[in-house]
């Protein structure tokens, strides 16, 4: 991954099946670089950045990277040898969205295919500014629309969980498109009763702008191409960044009684901006459950195109990380965080900032490094603010008692939001009540 996208031209993304490695990749005119995604059957086995010369990437270039994909390919062959048919659990796909109707319009056709195959899909519209999302979803009779008035990604996630009745709830972002086989690959792991969460591989949908390229290089969701298993005996439970991300994950409902719901004081829509998924992963590990990273569960994510949006995202990651770490330190009493958070702040945040100031090769632009570091600094305060806001809104009439860090085995969907009880909305039905304020 040696890329330095300090130009404004786009990077092509091309999939190459390893059976075709002896052929050039053509028709890349207008691109200076290409991200080649190596595939073996339905799985991605590796990616590599190549310079584009004369509008193509040559077979020789491709083959030079092949040793990197050997292990994933091999492991896939081995996995198929031992494969035996298993009963997949029932599932509901939940898409949480907020004022991103254009992105959703791209992914809904793919999600509708899942719905056609009998997998209920819920779109949770989180505090929308207008009814455009509602009108969009109304065009897909197989997809259920749910209106959630309270702003917050974790609030929307919890709402999705409460509106579903299946054994597993799979989450995908509104700006991500599932690949063929995404859902089955996630579900395959739930026959292990200790698996509470399965995360998948997320690759960029496009790398048109500098912002998208930088995001992919510095903060991409790619966690490798080999299946991994995490539990509290093998990883530090507070280092859940390596486990995966909420953009592409599936959660076992029955484990929520122990783990608790998503913390509604965290993640997008609240002052903390992110971290809800990571904090949830932490609780899953701390409660003795296992998390599987399954690269065969592939989604394509559209990174933010504008530099400003990228900076805001990176800032949000800084805030979210230290927000959930503060919560985990004080509520979860994970005292080792005092050490890890300090170490990470010095090595990662201050280190990155210093490298950017000194313009070391491969360093991030100064504004990104600064945004992330500043986010980390104010993260703990932001969590406090967010939590206070949550507690106040909980005192408001008609709002349910959901804090996320509490264990609430019984879904109190009847008191949530200003919406009629969940039972009146048909989850598996053709069309949920389209309600717009």
């Amino acid at each position: 991954m040696s890329a330095n996208p300090n130009n404004s031209t786009g990077v092509a993304i091309q999939q190459v099946f390893i059976e075709h490695l002896n052929k050039d990749v053509l028709e890349l005119e207008g691109f200076r670089r290409a991200l080649i995604v190596f595939r073996h059957k339905d799985a991605v086995v590796g990616t590599a950045w190549f310079p584009v010369v004369n509008g193509k990437v040559t077979a020789t270039q491709l083959q030079s990277m092949v040793s990197k994909v050997a292990w994933p390919v091999w492991q896939q062959i081995v996995a198929e040898m031992g494969k035996q048919p298993i009963q997949l659990p029932t599932v509901t796909v939940v898409v949480c969205t907020r004022d991103r109707t254009n992105d959703l319009a791209v992914s809904l056709p793919e999600l509708a295919k899942l719905a056609d195959r009998g997998r209920p899909v819920l779109v949770v519209d989180n505090c929308p500014a207008d009814d455009s999302t509602a009108r969009l979803v109304a065009g897909y009779p197989g997809i259920t629309y749910i209106y959630e008035p309270r702003a917050g990604l974790d609030i929307a996630r919890n709402r999705g969980i409460q509106e579903s009745t299946s054994e597993v709830v799979a989450f995908i972002d509104d700006d991500a498109i599932p690949d063929e086989g995404w859902l089955d690959a996630l579900l395959n792991h739930f026959d292990d009763p200790m698996v509470a969460v399965v995360t998948g591989l997320t690759l960029p949908l496009e790398l048109e702008t500098r912002a998208q390229q930088w995001f992919e290089i510095t903060n991409g969701f790619n966690r490798g191409f080999e299946q991994r298993s995490f539990d509290s005996t093998c990883v530090s439970v507070v280092g859940t960044g390596q486990v995966g991300a909420g953009v592409n994950m599936a959660v076992r409902r029955s484990a929520l009684g122990e783990i608790g719901y998503f913390d509604e004081a965290l993640d997008g829509g609240t002052p903390t901006l992110s971290g809800g998924d990571q904090e949830f992963f932490y609780r899953a590990l701390a409660h003795g459950y296992r998390i599987i990273y399954e690269p065969r569960a592939l989604v394509w994510h559209k990174h933010r195109r504008e530099w400003k949006a990228l900076r805001q995202t990176i800032f949000g990651y800084g805030v979210g990380l230290y927000a959930w770490w503060s919560k985990t330190l004080f509520v979860g009493k994970e005292f080792t965080l005092l050490y890890w958070a300090t170490l990470w702040f010095i090595q990662h945040h201050l280190g990155n900032l210093l490298r950017s100031v000194l313009r070391r090769p491969g360093c991030a632009p100064l504004d990104l490094a600064w945004a992330e570091m500043w986010g980390a600094v104010i993260g703990p305060y932001r969590y406090l603010r967010s939590r206070r806001a949550q507690q106040q809104s909980r005192l408001a009439p008609g709002v349910g008692d959901r804090t996320g860090d509490l264990i609430l085995p019984t879904a109190d969907s009847e008191t949530v939001g200003s919406k009629p009880p969940a039972s009146t909305v048909s989850v598996h039905g053709i069309q949920g009540g389209v309600e717009v304020p």
Partner: protein, 432 residues
């Protein structure tokens, strides 16, 4: 299996009348017809109202229940006693703290066979505020059961968990029931050895679910580990051929902390006559680590404590280091694979007869396995394991292949899938 067989559910219990009452009520909700099973409760040295409770409850229960009392302080003696009063063709052994799901008996009987031992799935239930140890124990149990469900799993005597287990009465009596001279623990393992020797077939039935309310914690567990050390020596005395696998990791200094293990063993053997302070200090340390959520150090302490207590038990039973050494001499650790061990080419077809002959030979001298002409691994003869089958070899192959085999092999496989390999840069780069 038609529902014409009478099943005897045998439940040993000790001062747990409340749990037992819940258990009996759970049994009254079975999908298996009530008139087709009876329950034998063996109250072992019970100081509480167990016997009265069973008598009182029996009028409300839809099945026959009898309660025997004795004081042997031994689960296996209780189970043996239970069988002498049981009338069923099948014995289903349940622990008093394993609450059965409604389908448990049906699932056991569906999986049963004349020569079969059926293990049910006892799912651990955690207490209100679980400790680190309880979390990791749950993971251990569930992983153990999950492994048994995998295709090609090779059962061994240590998979014999008598808390949720059934077999025919004929099989039980043919091998002579539980050995009550092994009093401390692992009597079930010892019966497992005899069953495997007698050619019984082990199987795991994932639908025979019981909920295991086992609130053991660190200290109790270390006690058990201590008894495990004692019992392993006893097992080694009764079944000398098993010594080689009982202490399989005895010489293992390659392991991360092999040297430390040896030191711990030395301490355990030299300390055995004195009062044990090390365990209580260690447990205290582990508790401090847990309070501070220091999971890494906690794991190391637990590992060391386990090692120490096991060898302390073994030392107590065998006497001294010299005795243990002479034992090991008699039956060498790490049974070797004979030079004449049959080689299985896992990627090549062979006739069933040919395979069967090789497997029989492998049972005595071990097996070697190759893929594309390259020898990859070998399996020594393993006493205490079920006879080697071909799918066991495949399972080991898959297990090893995930991490330990080499990409060149993968590449040669890819090659067969019509890929032009001549241009690939690395045919012989890596070695095994």
């Amino acid at each position: 299996m038609s529902q014409t067989h009478l099943v005897s559910v045998i439940i040993p219990t000790h001062n747990r009348s409340q749990m037992l009452a819940r258990h009996l009520l759970a049994l009254s909700r079975q999908t298996w017809p009530e008139e087709k099973f009876e329950v034998v409760v063996i109250a072992d040295d019970c100081q509480d109202e167990t016997a009265d409770m069973v008598t009182m409850l029996s009028s409300q229960l839809p099945f026959n229940v009898q309660c025997l009392s004795h004081s042997a302080r031994s689960a296996s003696a209780s189970r043996n006693l239970g069988t002498t009063h049981a009338h069923g063709e099948y014995y289903l052994f349940l622990d008093d703290d394993v609450l059965p799901e409604p389908g448990l008996i049906t699932a056991h009987l569906r999986a049963s066979g004349e020569n079969r031992v059926v293990m049910g799935h006892s799912r651990p239930v955690l207490p209100e505020k679980p400790s680190f140890w309880q979390y990791s124990a749950r993971l251990w149990w569930e992983d153990t059961f999950r492994a048994m469900r995998m295709p090609g799993y090779r059962f061994r005597y240590r998979d014999f968990f008598s808390g949720n287990l059934s077999m025919t009465a004929a099989l039980f009596h043919r091998v002579g029931g539980f050995d009550t001279t092994i009093r401390v623990r692992l009597e079930d393992y010892e019966l497992g050895i005899r069953l495997l020797k007698a050619g019984a077939e082990f199987c795991f039935e994932p639908e025979a679910v019981g909920h295991h309310y086992d609130f053991t914690d660190l200290r109790t567990w270390l006690q058990r580990v201590y008894k495990e050390g004692i019992a392993d020596i006893q097992i080694g005395q009764r079944h000398p051929e098993l010594r080689c696998i009982l202490f399989a990791d005895y010489e293992d200094v390659r392991a991360d902390w092999g040297r430390l293990k040896r030191l711990i063993r030395k301490v355990a053997f030299s300390w055995v006559q004195r009062r044990d302070r090390i365990t209580s200090i260690g447990v205290r340390l582990a508790e401090i680590c847990e309070l501070l959520r220091l999971r890494g150090p906690w794991l190391h302490i637990i590992g060391a404590l386990r090692e120490y207590n096991y060898w302390r038990g073994a030392a107590w039973r065998i006497g001294g280091y010299a005795e243990l050494a002479s034992w090991i001499q008699e039956a060498p650790i790490a049974p070797t694979v004979g030079v004449d061990a049959p080689l299985f080419h896992l990627d090549q077809p062979e006739s069933l007869e040919e395979r069967q002959t090789k497997l029989e030979l492998a049972q005595r001298v071990g097996a070697r396995a190759a893929w594309q002409g390259k020898e990859l691994f070998s399996i020594p003869p393993l006493p205490g394991y079920e006879p080697l089958r071909y799918d066991h070899l495949l399972a080991v192959f898959r297990q090893e292949a995930r991490r330990n085999f080499i990409p060149p092999l993968a590449l040669s496989l890819i090659q067969r899938k019509d890929l032009d390999l001549s241009v690939w840069p690395f045919n012989s780069q890596t070695s095994i």
